[in-house]
Symmetry: C2
Subunit: 301 residues, 2 copies
């Protein structure tokens, strides 16, 4: 999985800070997660091919997470896109986008498919043969979801020496990789585990922004390969976190620890902080494998 | 009058081009004209004080002229603005802004006053003791207005020697500047023109974007001190102009000449052109006093 941060500040866009948007590349997909104002420019800046984006996930309808969406949709049309575009976001997102297109007497020459979300429990919103995507219900001022991107287990790894020794015909090797028991050339059933080992461990990425501290998400994001958790505030402003339904760096680290994730990525910093290093320090006291999101930075895991 | 260009390209924002937005400073006002995506960042870049903007004029509801408005309105709230904000634009603009605020469960702590436009004739939409603002109905794919900012005639200039010679008491000097005839100290009525001369000529600025070539605007913008006229295309693409209801540089120059304006400013360039100098050349063949708009450039007139 490769994650590119396009913007990771809260509030409004400035000359040197960009609101939330990120691109996750996994199994040939290019998923856009959130789309604050100016995201289309950030996509160009970091050379993301517009046409490869087929699914956009919007966590909630605060401006710093979706005011760039309508412009991106319009730009796709100007670029004569023909590929379907799927948009996942809170109920209401279809109305606001289509109203703006109606007022502009505009249209799209590609299919725009809205998947409006309103469930308060985690649900699977996408599946193909390689990955699944689930919502992560978050606790913010408006209806908000994070998203969990989860690879499906891949094929098992065949031990060709063991398979030969067990007298299995090569025609059955693909079935073995798929996990089935097969008959050998004498008609004896060979147990799969005796000739294969598990394939590479499936990876998962959990995006959690915006939310106040909530242990309810822990079972959903348990053991994730990487967790992006918002950390709007430092300890010195921790009183503001519950008031605005945001989290501190320390709280993000607590969630990472409880969920036993492999890596924590912090972001959604309040623009009141010029120096971000304290976010890493404060989180690092609780959870060691922490990194700071930064516009243009990529994470591979 | 001081005009600051924040963006002057058509279509969608890119790393080095910005969609339409400009700021006109006149008689203590700071007027924002159009508000494409990213305008709030451009306002910061060119150090325009947010709180001085009390009136925003939106020509039409195509994205490159108004997708930055909702973000700017939200930012004003985050900055704890208390000053009233007046928004002038096509009918529908109120619905789209308020829908987005409703979905974000947001509000403004200042008064947001919409002046929705739907007239097909020029109308006065603002007046105070120093200036008047009129719409300029344009001919584009959707309902579109340009805007004419017009200073009112100032005070007349008093000739103190002539006034003394006419035996007028100084108490009447202010009335003379205001253009009235007054009695002198012998009770004789003195005609205003014999002791005053006209004050500085009132200036006017006409903003015309987007529009196809239309001589109907000429009487409205006649003798303007400066005219910003869109010029999306060069001659080599002139067939595209009527098709998309835009203008060429040459057509902008023809309007400038017919309207006898003092200065023409070109803008709203198609992003297909890297070198903009041909816009000036082509317009200059018809109208000499032509300049190119450019993000960050200011014009004083």
């Amino acid at each position: 999985m490769k994650l590119t941060i396009l913007g990771c500040h809260s509030a409004t866009p400035r000359i040197n800070t960009h609101p939330t948007a990120q691109v996750l590349e996994v199994k040939g997909h290019v998923f856009l997660i959130d789309c604050g104002e100016g995201t289309q420019v950030q996509l160009r800046r970091y050379k993301v091919k517009f046409n490869r984006i087929k699914h956009i996930f919007i966590s909630h309808l605060h401006g710093d997470h979706f005011f760039g969406l309508v412009g991106l949709i319009s730009t796709f049309r100007l670029l004569t896109r023909e590929t379907d575009l799927h948009i996942y976001g809170p109920k209401g997102i279809k109305e606001v986008i289509t109203l703006q297109m109606k007022l502009a007497d505009s249209w799209t020459n590609y299919k725009l498919i809205f998947h409006e979300l309103e469930s308060k429990s985690s649900e699977r919103i996408y599946e193909d043969d390689k990955i699944e995507i689930f919502t992560i219900p978050l606790d913010h001022r408006v209806y908000t979801n994070g998203f969990l991107f989860k690879e499906k287990p891949g094929e098992r790894k065949l031990d060709p020496v063991a398979a030969k020794r067990a007298n299995i015909h090569t025609a059955y090797f693909q079935k073995l990789k798929q996990g089935f028991n097969v008959e050998n050339q004498e008609g004896v059933i060979i147990s799969n585990e005796t000739v294969t080992v598990p394939g590479p461990k499936p990876k998962s990425y959990a995006f959690c922004s915006d939310t106040q501290y909530s242990e309810e998400i822990v079972p959903i994001i348990k053991n994730a390969t990487a967790l992006y958790h918002e950390s709007t505030f430092l300890e010195k402003h921790k009183d503001l976190a519950p008031m605005t339904k945001h989290s501190t760096a320390k709280e993000a680290a607590q969630i990472a620890q409880l969920a036993n994730v492999k890596k924590l990525i912090l972001g959604h910093y309040s623009t009141r902080y010029d120096d971000l290093s304290a976010f890493k320090t404060e989180a690092g006291e609780i959870f060691k494998k922490v990194e700071l999101a930064e516009a243009g930075k990529t994470f591979e895991f």
